[in-house]
Symmetry: C2
Subunit: 159 residues, 2 copies
């Protein structure tokens, strides 16, 4: 793992994502890294990220898979082009579809480990599968179909 | 539509969901209602619920579909049993799987309308399809497979 997360390379105007933008003060600030051929993000839910008492909210788990998925897609696209993430032009991905299977209740109060694997890179599309584990046990698994953001949105700053 | 949302009938110990619990002070407090054979929830994202600038965060959209889906599942299960939601025993659902297709960027700054339709009720399982619209245009569609919460969790209060 390196010190700088995938999301830390996103251009400033695209760094306000509630899930993973480093400039969104209220956001979750999800951070993803390479770990060999897989990617990993670690996240400690807040006490109020409750589903039922003692367990993590499913919408948060979906958010972790979503942002880790698009982050992994971006990192994989740079890697496929053989260039580091701080080189131009920027590659940023949005979610076309998100699927999550909740395998068991995810305990609240421990760090979660999100792991991503690139299933497919084809043109502007990257498919990433992901798991979310607590205490070493996989509690949810999912898939993100990410597509490269259109260039006009990369230049757009409506913030 | 009635004044009381599906989520307002959830027993107190199960009303701390970050998405829709009426007792979660930090939560989103998603509220769902019948509207004929469909269900509806209206939600106004906060300015910080950003994906890219000017658009709504996909994880929030997933959360809306998730909680509106499980709420719709509960309401549909009561309706199928021919009894009001304030009668015992309580029926509360959790998400087994969640799928979201993001059809177009969802504009930030306007109220969102989430609509649910019951696709299937079978045993302890309810399948709900949902759409999320902004300015009358559907921006995302999804599906929730909800399963009735095991009785031991209904009695458990780990909060």
């Amino acid at each position: 793992m390196t010190d700088r997360a995938f999301q830390d390379y996103y251009p400033d105007p695209l760094s306000y994502c509630y899930g993973c933008g480093r400039l969104n003060e209220q956001g979750l600030k999800i951070k993803s890294y390479w770990d060999g051929e897989e990617t990993v993000a670690r996240f400690h839910p807040k006490p109020y990220h409750t589903a039922m008492p003692g367990y993590v909210y499913g919408g948060l788990i979906a958010s972790l898979i979503d942002c880790h998925g698009t982050g992994t897609a971006a990192a994989a696209a740079y890697r496929a082009q053989g260039r580091p993430m701080d080189t131009a032009p920027p590659l940023r991905f949005v979610t076309a579809s998100l699927h999550v299977d909740y395998l068991r209740p995810t305990p609240l109060g421990v760090p979660l480990e999100v792991r991503g694997r690139v299933k497919e890179i084809k043109g502007r599309k990257v498919v990433v599968s992901a798991t979310v584990a607590a205490n070493g046990e996989i509690c949810a698994q999912g898939e993100v179909v990410a597509v490269q953001m259109p260039e006009h949105l990369l230049k757009d700053d409506k913030r």
